[in-house]
């Protein structure tokens, strides 16, 4: 059965999760707990925080996220093609290069529009 090869992966994940939980448990039980108001403030270089971090942030981060989705899906399409590259031969190569060229045009457009600039 093909899923059998994933059993060691699950074991590995369980062991890793066990290590993480054990370390978190150590942190929870072994350290001291001293609570007073000034100490519990989030660190702001000694000042009391005035602005909450939970507010609007630069739209460029959204743009990066959108571009990530587009180009990562391109990479996902490239992987199965690359595995069969030598079997597909010239035809497959030309087909894929047309696809990559269209996405490269997209990258050039994004670049030209200034979405990759940070100032």
């Amino acid at each position: 059965m093909i899923l059998n090869q994933y059993i060691p992966v699950i074991l590995m994940m369980l062991v890793a999760a066990g290590v993480a939980v054990a370390v978190l448990g150590l942190a929870e039980f072994l350290g001291p707990k001293v609570v007073f108001r000034e100490k519990m403030e989030p660190f702001e270089c000694g000042e009391n925080p005035i602005v909450s971090p939970k507010q609007r942030f630069s739209v460029r981060f959204y743009l990066i996220a959108l571009m990530f989705i587009i180009f990562d899906i391109e990479a996902v399409f490239l992987f199965p093609w690359a595995v069969n590259f030598q079997a597909l031969g010239l035809f497959g190569f030309v087909e894929m290069m047309i696809f990559v060229f269209i996405l490269a045009l997209g990258l050039a457009y994004v670049w030209k529009k200034g979405a990759l600039e940070w100032e």
């Binding site: 060691p8 590995m12 290590v19 993480a20 942190a27 072994l30 990530f68």
Partner: protein
């Protein structure tokens, strides 16, 4: 069935022992001692046991003991559950990514076939990328849940940087997959049995691109803008103390090892010695007379070769870390999108032409 389970357990124990037992603490020491040597300082040399310091190796132990007994601090207004879960979410993917990396070859020991990889998945290379990209959740959650402006900015920067370099990192490997015709890391290593088929020979530009992306993905200097101490205090782990801080730190070092191991597997022939194939090694060790002991010796040599190669690549990463200054944030993003991404697309084209025209071999 039981034997297979015991074998898997032994391999998992080996991988964890290597990563969190040996490399993670050792790298903490290397980071201090190597920087000291490179900057002409004395460096960590004070912690001692009965007067013996062993060039500062005990600092790792004393640091760990100190950090275990530190207070676990969660600031007011923070999301307690997410704040606690974030370091675990950063550490678990770093540890699991090693599952598919072969640290040796195939050996026959007393009639039992041993394959030195925890899980030989058909999609090995994809598995490593998929799992290690999950680490972004830990970092982003750490930044978001801390209720701290520095953490939040660090988390945002980390998210954008990791996403950007993940795209380029996936594309740098495509050329190699076209060359070896497989995503299984075990198959890729087998095809590097002959020295002239090692990835680095034909794919050194891909190695440079991949190495850059991997260091950027791991957020180490010169790409450590998410935790730039001169701008953001400590970035996304500003509000972390004690063992939770150690978990981020461990995740980073385990990832250093994983990057090196993946580079060894993809570009430097895995466990293979240069110019010696596995079969030659086993017969050279007396495989005809004592097949079991020759296999065992070959296994030892294979694992040792693999570890030595990994250590060399770790050393290169550490040297880069203490040589280059930090880039500005816009430089980091520009490098990813404007240089590495187009360069890896061009490299795919070059490999395609190279293989189809017969200039590159077909291993």
């Amino acid at each position: 069935m039981t034997l297979a389970l015991v074998e898997t357990a032994a391999k998992i124990a080996f991988v964890f022992g290597l990563n969190i037992g040996v490399f993670a603490p050792l790298l903490g020491w290397v980071e201090r001692k190597q920087s000291a040597v490179m900057q002409d300082r004395i460096g960590a040399d004070r912690a001692d046991v009965f007067g013996f310091t062993i060039i500062g190796l005990f600092h790792t132990m004393s640091d760990t003991i100190k950090l275990i007994f530190k207070e676990d601090f969660i600031p007011r207004g923070a999301d307690r559950i997410m704040h606690t879960a974030a370091p675990a979410l950063a550490l678990i993917p770093a540890l699991v990514a090693f599952t598919v990396i072969p640290f040796g070859g195939h050996y026959t020991l007393w009639g039992h076939n041993v394959n030195l990889v925890v899980a030989d998945l058909d999609v090995g290379a994809l598995f490593v990328f998929a799992i290690s990209s999950l680490a972004a959740y830990g970092v982003v959650l750490a930044g978001w849940s801390s209720n701290n402006n520095w953490s939040f900015l660090g988390g945002l920067r980390a998210a954008a940087q990791m996403f950007s370099y993940e795209v380029a990192m996936g594309l740098t490997i495509i050329g190699l997959v076209m060359f070896y015709q497989s995503l299984s890391l075990v198959t890729i290593v087998e095809k590097q049995n002959e020295f002239w088929h090692w990835g680095i020979i034909w794919h050194w530009p891909a190695f440079i691109l991949y190495f850059t992306c991997a260091i950027a993905e791991n957020k180490r200097i010169p790409f450590d803008v998410p935790e730039a101490e001169s701008e953001l205090v400590a970035g996304y782990f500003t509000e972390y103390s004690g063992m939770k801080f150690i978990m981020f730190w461990m995740a980073e070092f385990v990832e250093v090892v994983t990057i090196s191991a993946l580079c060894v597997v993809l570009f430097f022939g895995g466990h293979h010695l240069p110019f010696v194939t596995d079969a030659e090694l086993i017969s050279g060790l007396g495989g005809a007379l004592y097949p079991n002991f020759a296999n065992l010796a070959a296994m030892g040599i294979g694992i040792l070769t693999f570890i030595v190669k990994v250590i060399i690549l770790i050393f290169i990463q550490m040297t880069i870390r203490w040589t280059l200054p930090r880039f500005r944030y816009d430089q980091v993003m520009a490098l990813g999108w404007k240089l590495v991404l187009p360069a890896s697309l061009i490299w795919i084209f070059i490999v395609g032409v190279g293989i189809l025209s017969g200039i590159m071999p077909r291993p």
